[in-house]
């Protein structure tokens, strides 16, 4: 079994060198293992007509400026500090010749790179699904933006006390038992809110229940080790504007491998270096004594 971070911290604490560090409770808080009931959204591209009701609802729920009204879908738009979700047109059309659209937002990874890499736990993965952001902790290193494979976190470069902005999965609404605003507003059944495990079943049911309609892949089932936003589509997934080449393994694990060496360096380096020092010192002493001895013989 690979050494996990909790064990590493325990080892490190045992080494004494990090005795002053706070306990591993923080690690649990930043990266809660999702519960079986963790929430997710299934996006069915075949049902999306590009009405952008989700954008409108998102702006309202998050008190953001109203989204622009004259969108011609010619150039893809990106999310920003004041725009947590955008709908873009897919580059492929359906078999029936209809245009296809895809909504993008924070994917709320099961094991988010951003939260695992955040040095102040400003980003936090909650067991029920959302990756939430605590603006009052953030020091603005922007490593979350570097680490996020989906390019989601956005920064307020123009402000004097800037913070990171991104989709919250409407964590507050969810706490009240309501679905995220976007899923609530979708008039065409393109967004289904529910438990992640059940939505994966639902996605498979749709894919295999209507042979030939869907691409037989669920984007988000494995991407980045699994995400809370899942996409199924009747046009190739790579035409939807979702980032290509996202690894299908957990991102935090990639850094864990290196961090697992830390306790060994902490425990092995000092005795090794002290040993070398003692050996070289001894060698010098012997050499000096040898010289003195020679002097006596003469």
């Amino acid at each position: 079994m690979p050494v996990n971070r909790r064990q590493i911290l325990k080892l490190a604490a045992a080494a004494g060198a990090t005795a002053a560090l706070p306990g591993p409770g923080g690690a649990e808080a930043a990266l809660a293992r999702p519960s079986k009931d963790a929430r997710a959204v299934l996006v069915d591209i075949a049902n999306c007509v590009g009405c952008r009701s989700c954008e409108m609802a998102c702006s309202e729920a998050n008190r953001l400026p109203e989204p622009e009204s004259d969108v011609n879908f010619e150039t893809p738009r990106a999310t920003g500090p004041d725009r947590f979700t955008v709908v873009n047109r897919a580059t492929a059309k359906s078999a029936g010749g209809d245009e296809r659209f895809a909504k993008t937002q924070c994917m709320h990874c099961v094991e988010p790179a951003c939260a695992s890499g955040c040095v102040v736990r400003a980003l936090e993965k909650r067991a029920d699904g959302p990756v939430v952001y605590h603006a009052d902790r953030c020091l603005g290193c922007r490593y979350c933006m570097v680490a996020c494979p989906f390019g989601v976190p956005k920064y307020e470069y123009t402000k004097l006390a800037p913070i990171v902005r991104k989709c919250t999965f409407c964590a507050e609404r969810q706490a009240e038992g309501k679905p995220p605003a976007c899923a609530d507003a979708c008039p065409n059944g393109a967004l289904t809110f529910g438990k992640r495990a059940e939505l994966i079943e639902e996605a498979k049911k749709r894919i295999y229940g209507t042979p030939g309609k869907y691409v037989s892949e669920i984007y988000g089932e494995l991407e980045a080790g699994g995400t809370s936003w899942l996409y199924i589509s009747d046009v190739p997934l790579q035409t939807l504007g979702l980032p290509p080449g996202v690894s299908k393994t957990s991102y935090p694990e990639m850094a864990d491998r290196a961090l697992s060496a830390v306790p060994f360096v902490i425990t092995l380096w000092p005795p090794l270096l002290m040993g070398l020092w003692a050996m070289n010192k001894r060698k010098e002493e012997v050499a000096a004594a040898g010289k003195a001895g020679e002097g006596r013989h003469e």
Binding site: L9, A113, S116, V119, L139, R142, A258, L276, W277
Partner: protein, 409 residues
């Protein structure tokens, strides 16, 4: 004369001796009018307004940082390269104390001072780059993110800054004439050195670990699961290169600070460092090649990226390794210095490649630093040089203090 007046007069001569280099304030100010200081003044006159603008108007007002390029010149140069270039301190400390290579003793203090100031100005650069730098302490006390690579780096850099301060403290204490305190520090020295080498091993490598989570953003030639090892090994070569370059520069610039009664054998030191440099770079070259083998992307060698990779691997790793070797065989200090400069540039190039040039390599839009970003980085380096010069001119750095000659272990 009253006791107070005597004290005041003594105080006056203390300031004159220690701060004004034995000159009167007027003479001292006059001595500052030099061509070098004119250059420094120009840089600061351009850079300080940019710094003010950064904190008065925000990051967006002075930088080209963007939503797709959250890390720019300040992180790539001031922080990531800065830490690597400050590696001379731990490299030479390890050679002198742990491996008993006493030949390098004369360059230990300048190397530690360069390292200490390097880290101070890394912190300075970080404060410029962070959106809300006043929250830096949160990671230690309030909301530590124990799973983050940056958490480890933060602790290591914070502790190592203290270690470097302690390693340099004897020079400052000799300058101030505090012999007892100095003796106390000398007694702890091996412990401090071991702590310094351990902390450096950890954070020099962890700077590479920042990019472990970006396998698809960093070009396969520069991304590797072994990035922490690459960063650690190359920090040793950076330390060796920096000590060669920096000692040659400061022995020229501060030759009046050298002790004519105790001449330093710079040839032996430089060639000794060159020998180590040849070995480390040679090993580093093959370790990097293993990274390429691991990715298996040999096909990309025929692209423009392949040529750029070749420039770094052959021109800035294998070539300086070879030149170091030749310099040792021919006992050519000049060649060793050239190879040293090439090594330093090579490590800079590598850090820039990983964090800027080969980052977001699939995006057509590139980040180019704004003029103000460059000026701020230049200002930080210049301030580092000014403080280095101020200290070298006053404290026993390049030559031993006459009262403590030969007392170093």
């Amino acid at each position: 004369m009253s006791e107070q007046a005597i004290a005041r007069q003594m105080n006056g001569s203390w300031v004159r001796d220690k701060i004004f280099l034995g000159l009167t304030p007027a003479e001292y100010l006059k001595s500052l009018v030099t061509p070098a200081n004119a250059v420094i003044a120009v840089i600061l006159a351009a850079g300080i307004p940019c710094l003010v603008l950064r904190f008065a108007k925000g990051l967006g007002a002075v930088s080209n940082l963007s939503q797709t390029w959250p890390w720019g010149l300040w992180v790539a140069f001031d922080v990531i390269s800065g830490v690597a270039l400050a590696a001379g301190g731990y490299t030479v400390a390890c050679a002198v104390y742990i491996f008993g290579q006493k030949t390098f003793r004369p360059v230990l203090r300048p190397a530690i001072l360069t390292g200490f100031l390097g880290y101070v100005f890394v912190l300075f650069g970080l404060i410029v780059d962070l959106g809300q730098p006043w929250r830096l302490p949160y990671q230690f006390f309030l909301t530590p993110g124990t799973t983050a690579v940056m958490y480890e780096v933060g602790w290591c850099v914070f502790l190592y800054l203290i270690v470097l301060g302690l390693e340099f403290a004897p020079a400052a204490l000799e300058w101030l004439g505090l012999a007892k305190l100095r003796r106390l520090l000398e007694m702890m020295s091996i412990g401090i050195i071991v702590l310094g080498v351990t902390l450096s091993t950890l954070h020099q490598s962890s700077l590479g670990a920042f990019f472990l989570m970006t396998p698809e953003k960093v070009h396969p030639f520069w991304y590797s699961p072994f990035l922490p090892i690459f960063f650690f090994i190359s920090s040793i070569s950076a330390g060796i290169g920096m000590v060669i370059v920096e000692s040659s520069l400061s022995h020229r610039a501060f030759h009046d600070r050298l002790d004519p009664k105790a001449p330093v054998d710079m040839t032996a030191i430089t060639l000794g460092l060159a020998k180590a440099g040849a070995l480390v770079l040679f090993a580093y070259f093959f370790i990097r090649l293993q990274g390429l083998a691991g990715s298996g992307r040999w096909d990309l060698l025929l692209t423009g990226w392949g040529a750029w990779y070749g420039v770094e691997m052959l021109g800035f790793i294998l070539l300086p390794s070879f030149l170091f070797l030749v310099s040792v065989r021919r006992e050519s200090v000049k060649l060793a210095r050239f190879a040293g400069a090439l090594t330093v540039l090579g490590v800079l190039l590598n850090r820039f490649n990983v964090s800027l040039f080969a980052y977001n390599w699939t995006l057509p839009k590139r980040y180019v630093p704004a003029a103000a970003e460059i000026l701020i980085s230049l200002t930080i380096v210049t301030l580092g040089v000014v403080v280095f010069r101020w200290i070298v001119n006053r404290m026993p750095v390049l030559a031993e203090h006459p009262d403590y000659r030969g007392s170093h272990e």
